[in-house]
Symmetry: C2
Subunit: 163 residues, 2 copies
Amino acid sequence: MSDVPPPRPPRPLGDRANFLLSQLGYYTAHRFARRLAPLGIQPNHFGLLMHLEQAEGRSQQQLADALGIHRKVMVGLLDDLESRGLAQRRRHPADRRAHAIHLTSQARDLLEQARAIADEEEEEVLTALDERERAVLVALLQRMASQTGNPPGVHPRLGATLA
Amino acid sequence: MSDVPPPRPPRPLGDRANFLLSQLGYYTAHRFARRLAPLGIQPNHFGLLMHLEQAEGRSQQQLADALGIHRKVMVGLLDDLESRGLAQRRRHPADRRAHAIHLTSQARDLLEQARAIADEEEEEVLTALDERERAVLVALLQRMASQTGNPPGVHPRLGATLA
DNA sequence: GGTAATAGTCACCTGATGGAACAGTTAGTC
DNA sequence: GACTAACTGTTCCATCAGGTGACTATTACC
């Protein structure tokens, strides 16, 4: 009789690029969220604030399109920001249906702090790598993101239900 | 009078290693989940099956500890697997409180299919990279995972509420 | 002027998440 | 050998994000 075939260890998860990406991505995102919490915002608010900084006065719909989310989600995000005094819904000069979204000066201050936190988090997740390796890693990841159709700076989590 | 300081575009999210990791990690995990759906399981089931393959006969508590989750969660995961005929709760030979968890032959077949799907997904997310670059990427990611205390093959998502 | 489309909002429902508590069993202790 | 503490697996419940459909106000089309 033949022996029971020895388990023949298959390639472990920790050797797979997709697993490592998911593992590290979740890890760093989660840490970032925890570090951001004292500021009273979450990573998705941070992403919206970052975008607003460069695109002030846009309508909620325009912002939602740019970030790949549904307008309904934008309502909630802006409710959060507005209640924290970080954003304002003003009257849109050209379309009375729409709101023109603006940042407050308070938001700009908070953005600086949030960016510093992001820097910390990045530094920490990259601790094991020297300068040259970091550059290599970022270049590789950018090419992968581009090739897989991930728009620069747009996190797919925001538009989770988009499909 | 001084000009309004030009927006001085800050470093975009797409240049940050932590953002890229989160973006690509979420992307590939999400795609993997969608590809896995026809098999009737989710990524967390896949992770559990992978572990069970190497650690059959363990108790639910032992499995939960190994994967960094709470036993309560393990109950739900095993309910899922058992109802799909992928796992069995047998009597534990040494401890009548505990169950000894075993895979079915059906589970082994399904694991092969799931691994093939994981291979596809990995291949796709790595499309932009040649062989050498892939090896470099995996090596860098593994060092980062190790340095940040991420146990090999254990996805932090499973133990989301651990802290 | 009438109809369709759009911007933003709300109320609802469902599914995941976390906590407390339970019965059955084991292990240590006197 | 009885008693107490600890452990395994499970259920119940309260809570809360996420997704859906319908609704008002305004604009654009013809």
